[in-house]
Amino acid sequence: MERAAPSPGLLQPGQREIELDVRTQDVEINMGPQHPSTHGVLRVLIRADGEIVTAAQSHLGYLHRCAEKIGENVDWLQYLPYTDRYDYLAAMNNNLGYSLAVEKLLGIEVPPRGQYLRTLIVELNRIASHLIAFGTYGLDIGAFTPFFYAFRERELLLDIFEKICGARLTYSFIRPGGVFNDAPPGWLQHVEDFCRQFEKKWPEYWDLLVENKIFIERTANVGIIPRDLAIAWGCTGPMLRGSGVDWDLRRDQPYLVYDRLEFKVITGVGYRGTVGDCFDRNYVRMLEMVESLKMVRQCLDQMPEGEVSHPDVGLIIRPAPGEAYVGIENPRGELGHYVVSDGSKIARRVRVRAPSFCNLSLVEHIMPGTMLADAVAIIGATDIVIGETDR
């Protein structure tokens, strides 16, 4: 932004006096596509006046893998592994969203045990995803160690996932019609052990990072998204709740067995700053881990016996013609799948409404006026997964 030459002796409104003598030029910096804190290959073009960001523009598409085009070319079930790959930190949730959309067209409901198993594993995956969000947020702010602690507990979760579905990242576990496998013997006990272990570790995260004075100074009152802005820009998930909006699809539009579980919807309260700042978004994620843990416990208690899959859904799926939109609460927000079927074994259209994509669209509008280090904090607090924004 080349400033217009000031007319001598005349201060423009809001102009500092020094600028009359020193003509400065804003510097344009490419943050990314390869940058330590863009969480992937996001490129943010930042214009900065010294340390202060004056404009930002995100450039996407470095990880575009044509997921929606692939959806129109493979069988309904064959698309399932591709859903793992947009939000690879919460692949179970992606499987679930797609499966629910297909089930809506199929007109079937999964047996109770399948539903509980889905809920349980999706909540575990939410904890795993929020652990990464918390760890990498610490990394963005400059604290290394919480990242490793977060991964230590995530590792236990991945072991749990490996035991039930055989994969550690791209699970392809929840399928249209149910889940692929029932839990192996002793698996529920593993989950319980994890709950006990995680309960002990979680306060440490809180003390080590969240209550740290430097962390509070870095995140509180930074990147404030007011309530109205968050709603207007279609933010969902912790982004929206961090701005104080009491909205959670699990409670407000219940799917699976969430209406039978008791949990609190965490909203940002301005715990250390203003409602809707970066601290609040992280705060929501931190406390959501606790809520997810509660839900996991309840699922374990209520887990019924029986089948896990609907017997009518085979490997070749032919849903009825029609279209269905199902939005579920992903760790990052509302993950929507809009599927259109013509009754054949291949979809007409698979549209993925990715939460990170929508949350990220707001980021470039709240960046101007913050400092360069805050830009990193804001991107980190958005908790984007580039696989999801680009699909």
Binding site: V27, G50, E51, G142, A143, F144, Y149, I214
Partner: protein, 380 residues
């Protein structure tokens, strides 16, 4: 022990030593004064360089191990057998063998000069450190002052590196470093004043000698009349020293999550290793100053009372180095605990918190010293 000009200048009798023979042949009347100076400097430089290299390599290894164990992993385990002790050697060899890249569009002079300047100043700081009674390269009267002033020259090297790299991130790193170090000179200097007032001298040697009481445990931080000033002033000094040495949470110049690698983004190979050595050398020097002024320098029960001699000097060096390394360890420990401060908060912390607090301490120390001087009989 290194070079006493008087003894070295005396004509060396030929003793069959190849070197002395040679010197005698060249300078039959004994070595001229400049030769003595140059040789002395060369020996001192070699000693310091060797010491710095060993200390830096050990610190790098230690840093990685500390980081590893804090993060419930192991750190380097492979090279050299026991806990990867040779990892730094391997890294050093790798850095020496790597291609020396000078990026296109760089200011070649600044780019190449910067690492040398940075490392040079780090080495110069070792001149004033009192390792042992007989082992101090120069007992500078203004030792503390000398160290502070020399250490800030590093900044010029960092700015040169940042500017010469032709990289925006590097410029950001350099500018942050400039702002940060310029503002932390003040609290650093001020936080050193309470011990200076206590010792009545700027010489580190004097400071160490004055802490020799109580079988070598009469350290400044343990002084019953002064500990309430000594401990806060040490904390302030430590924070300012972290900022001065660009260590977390003040590592804004190279903050990897924001500026990629800051001022040394474009450096590779041996030039990069210079920056690396400098960082750990500076950490050691700052810790050594802290150890000398607050923690008794080489004084330790059993060592202080020994008769003078090579053994005592050696043990003094060990005590002093261990004390300094413990403080270096604390620096690492802090690094792997805390997040990074933003640049404006660094300024706030420096100007609004550290400076006034250290001024208060200086004032308190001065008042205390004044009243103690009025009533000498109260002194323990």
């Amino acid at each position: 022990m290194l070079t006493d000009p008087v003894t070295a200048a005396a004509p060396a009798p030929p003793q069959g030593n190849l070197w002395t023979d040679l010197m005698h042949g060249v300078f039959p009347d004994g070595m001229p004064w400049w030769m003595v100076a140059v040789l002395g400097a060369a020996v001192a430089f070699a000693a310091v360089m060797l010491f710095v290299t060993v200390i830096a390599m050990f610190s790098i290894w230690l840093e990685r191990k500390v980081a590893g164990h804090i993060q419930v992993r192991l750190g380097p385990m492979r090279v050299g057998g026991w806990h990867g002790w040779a990892q730094s050697v391997a890294d050093g060899v790798k850095l020496l063998l790597k291609e020396d890249v000078v990026v296109t569009g760089a200011d070649r002079l600044l780019f190449k000069l910067a690492p040398a300047l940075v490392l040079g100043t780090a080495l110069a700081m070792f001149v004033a450190l009192p390792f042992a009674p007989g082992l101090q390269i120069a007992d500078v009267d203004l030792g503390v002052f000398f160290l502070i002033s020399i250490s800030s020259i590093t900044t010029i090297g960092v700015i040169m590196a940042g500017w010469g790299s032709n990289n925006k991130w590097s410029v950001y790193g350099a500018m942050r470093e400039a702002a940060q170090v310029a503002s932390y000179e003040i609290p650093l200097g001020l936080s050193l004043m309470p011990p200076v007032i206590y010792y009545g001298s700027l010489s580190l040697r004097t400071a160490t000698d004055m802490q020799a009481g109580w079988l070598g445990l009469h350290w400044y931080v343990f002084d019953p009349l002064h500990f309430w000033i000594a401990i806060p002033s040490f904390v302030l000094f430590f924070v300012a020293a972290l900022a001065e040495t660009k260590r977390a949470p003040f590592d804004l110049a190279e903050s990897e999550s924001e500026l990629v690698a800051g001022f040394h983004t474009e450096y590779s190979g041996i030039r990069f290793s210079f920056f690396f050595l400098e960082e750990y050398a500076a950490m050691f020097v700052m810790s050594a100053v802290g150890a000398a002024l607050w923690f008794g320098g080489w004084n330790f029960p059993g060592v202080t009372q020994m008769p003078e001699g090579a053994l005592r000097d050696f043990l003094c060096v060990v005590v002093f180095t261990v004390k300094s390394m413990l403080l270096v360890f604390v620096m690492m420990w802090v690094r792997w605990t805390l997040p990074r401060i933003r640049i404006d908060q660094v300024m706030t912390l420096g100007y609004k918190y550290l400076t006034p607090l250290s001024l208060i301490l200086v004032f308190a120390a001065a008042v205390l010293e004044y009243f103690l001087a009025l009533a000498p009989s109260v002194l323990p």
